[in-house]
């Protein structure tokens, strides 16, 4: 019985970590390229869930809701970066404050459009079953979440490491000034990465909507957890985001199961300590 508890909790932690990777990787890339913390990232997550709900209500297709929600929110992110963040280039604090302002605006807009009621995104019946592996009942949906995260992670890794575009992004993360010097259009890179981050967060929102739900306030609940992922993993590093997501997913699950009274404390206290000792995160580049 004891081993089963640990295995189930570990599985839940890993699948939650898969979801966190989707949210955290975008946040991490945005920080790496633009040197700002995007405080509307939680809003993108929530908006993803809401847009998906609207698509499901009008077309009945869950599968269609995933790309539509992700692309819609990516466009919102792109517009926000182009119209509002870009003119404040070089003033990170004002950019960050602006993302807070937008987080607020999105929160209110979501309340206005989708009401304050909590919703659930229901995946197709196929995914709601569970399979039995070695006597453990594993929900198929959580396996699907892990599969999506692995797929996205691999795709991102291939783009970053094997393509010319990826090389220019890495160059911008390492030294934006030098990258501009050798003719890389860092403004275009920032635009791409910002909307990619919004895309990934919204994707997480749709996929997470099935087991977290979609409700007002989810945005500011998700934001600090995404931060924990990025900070533990290191900002601007994709591999770091993966490790951070796994650690936070596991810490969150075991924390809630083992020490419920201080479970959030066990998540955020290490985050603060890591930040204080190594501001760029465990695997971040200087």
């Amino acid at each position: 019985v004891d081993a089963r508890f640990w295995l189930i909790q570990a599985f839940n932690g890993i699948s939650y970590g898969a979801l966190l990777f989707l949210v955290g990787s975008g946040l991490s890339l945005i920080f790496g390229v633009m040197r700002i913390v995007n405080l509307s990232h939680g809003s993108y997550f929530l908006l993803g869930g809401y847009v998906a709900l609207s698509v499901i209500w009008s077309t009945g297709s869950w599968l269609l809701s995933i790309p539509v929600a992700a692309i819609t929110v990516a466009i919102i992110g792109l517009l926000m970066e182009r119209i509002f963040l870009r003119p404040l280039g070089g003033e990170p604090l004002r950019q960050v404050l602006l993302t807070v302002g937008f987080a607020f605006l999105f929160q209110q807009a979501a309340l206005d459009i989708w009401s304050g009621n909590p919703f659930d995104i229901n995946p197709p019946a196929v995914l709601t079953q569970s399979i039995v592996v070695g006597g453990l009942h594993l929900p198929l949906y959580r396996i699907f979440m892990i599969a999506v995260a692995v797929f996205i992670g691999l795709a991102l890794w291939l783009i970053m490491e094997k393509t010319r575009l990826g090389a220019t992004v890495r160059a911008t993360v390492d030294d934006a000034q030098m990258a501009r010097g050798v003719g890389i259009d860092t403004s275009r890179i920032a635009m791409l990465i910002f909307s990619l981050g919004a895309f990934l967060a919204a994707l997480g929102g749709v996929i997470g909507g099935a087991f977290l739900g979609v409700y007002p306030g989810l945005d500011f609940e998700m934001l600090p957890i995404a931060f924990a992922v990025v900070i533990i993993g290191g900002m601007g590093s994709l591999g770091g985001a993966a490790i951070g997501a796994l650690l936070v997913g596991l810490a969150d699950n075991f924390g809630k199961a083992l020490f419920p009274e201080i479970s959030y404390f066990t998540l955020y206290a290490p985050m603060a300590l890591i930040l204080a000792v190594k501001p760029t995160g465990l695997f971040g580049r200087e």
Binding site: V100, F104, L105, A109, D112, E261, Y268, L275
Partner: protein
């Protein structure tokens, strides 16, 4: 800024505050409550402004100190019946001390960082406090929070809204006066120096870490005071008071009013609470007004609503001279 214009500004603020003290009690109970809440929360916003506007540190975890003051007040009142009589003053002192102690601990981690990193550390630390408030049921009552049955009574009865308004107003004035004296003292000037160029201050021999650390602790103490008053204003203390959005609120109010002005924080708090509590009863699209005001101020008025008169003067002189754009006081 010349001495004369500084004196004029102080005079304007004094007259405006006197007007608030005279007019508000004669309005309806709703406005009195709104003004009381705005004043209590303003102390938190001013404490944040000490960090943001005068030291250049944007904290995203200031609600933690409000939380310490508020939870201390609620726990002492609900469990031990302390703080409901003359010992209210003891709770005020304890709330400030408790919050200052927490700030002294958190400051050790946070003050080393600057800019965006400072923002993230304070966010993480604020979340620690929120996590405890939310989950530590046996101490904090968890999600339900703790109710305070009635307000203190010591010669005067704070249950009376007007009396309570005057008490909170008094605390606000004292906090404003202390913080104003502080930022104009040599210590405050050094903080401004650190904000403008920390390296230069270091080279000049200032212990910049200690200056920032002390500012952090003082800000924490005033956050605690704000919490004690907030607990009695609301009558209930819950994780809502320490959640990230409360810290975000405080930061946005400081930015809205004008960082580095102290009184701007009170204006920001007043405007936000007015839109949120009053305009919301009139129109359903009030949320967009609030969000729009935030975004427009950050984009076009980096020095906040307090800079509007200066902007108008600049606009007038722009015909003769080419305008120079003011730098944001809190630029990291």
């Amino acid at each position: 800024m010349s001495m004369a214009s500084a004196r004029t500004k102080v005079l304007i603020v004094v007259v405006a505050l006197a007007a608030v003290a005279l007019i508000v009690p004669h309005t309806g109970s709703f406005v009195i409550l709104l003004a009381t809440r705005a004043l209590a929360f303003s102390i938190l916003v001013m404490s944040l402004d000490l960090l943001l506007g005068f030291t250049g540190l944007a904290s995203l975890g200031q609600a933690a100190y409000l939380g310490v003051g508020a939870y201390l007040t609620a726990i002492l009142a609900a469990r031990y019946h302390i703080g409901l009589g003359y010992d209210f003053w003891l709770v005020v002192v304890l709330g400030m001390l408790g919050a200052a102690l927490l700030a002294a601990l958190f400051g050790l981690l946070a003050v080393r960082a600057s800019g965006v990193y400072f923002l993230m550390i304070t966010l993480a630390l604020g979340q620690c406090v929120w996590g405890l408030a939310y989950r530590w049921n046996s101490l904090t009552g968890g999600d339900n929070g703790i109710n305070i049955e009635h307000r203190p009574q010591f010669g005067v009865n704070l249950a009376d809204p007007v009396t309570f308004f005057y008490v909170v107003f008094g605390f606000f004035i004292v906090a404003l006066a202390i913080l104003y004296t502080l930022v104009r003292s040599p210590f405050g000037r050094s903080l401004a120096g650190i904000r403008e160029r920390e390296l230069r201050m270091k080279i000049l021999g200032y212990n910049t870490w200690l200056h920032k650390y002390l500012a952090f602790i003082i800000a924490g103490a005033f956050g605690g005071l704000s919490g004690v008053l907030w607990a009695h204003t609301a009558g209930i203390v819950s994780p809502e008071n320490v959640v990230l959005t409360t810290s975000v609120d405080a930061l946005l109010m400081a930015v809205l009013g004008g960082p580095g002005t102290l009184i701007g924080g009170a204006i920001g708090a007043g405007v936000v609470l007015f839109i949120r509590e009053y305009l919301s009863t009139l129109v359903h699209w009030w949320q967009y007004v609030l969000g729009g005001v935030y975004v427009l101020v950050i984009l076009y008025l980096p020095d906040g609503l307090m800079s509007i008169p200066q902007r108008i003067r600049q606009w007038r002189t722009a015909r003769t001279k080419s305008p120079d754009t003011p730098k944001m006081a809190a630029a990291a």
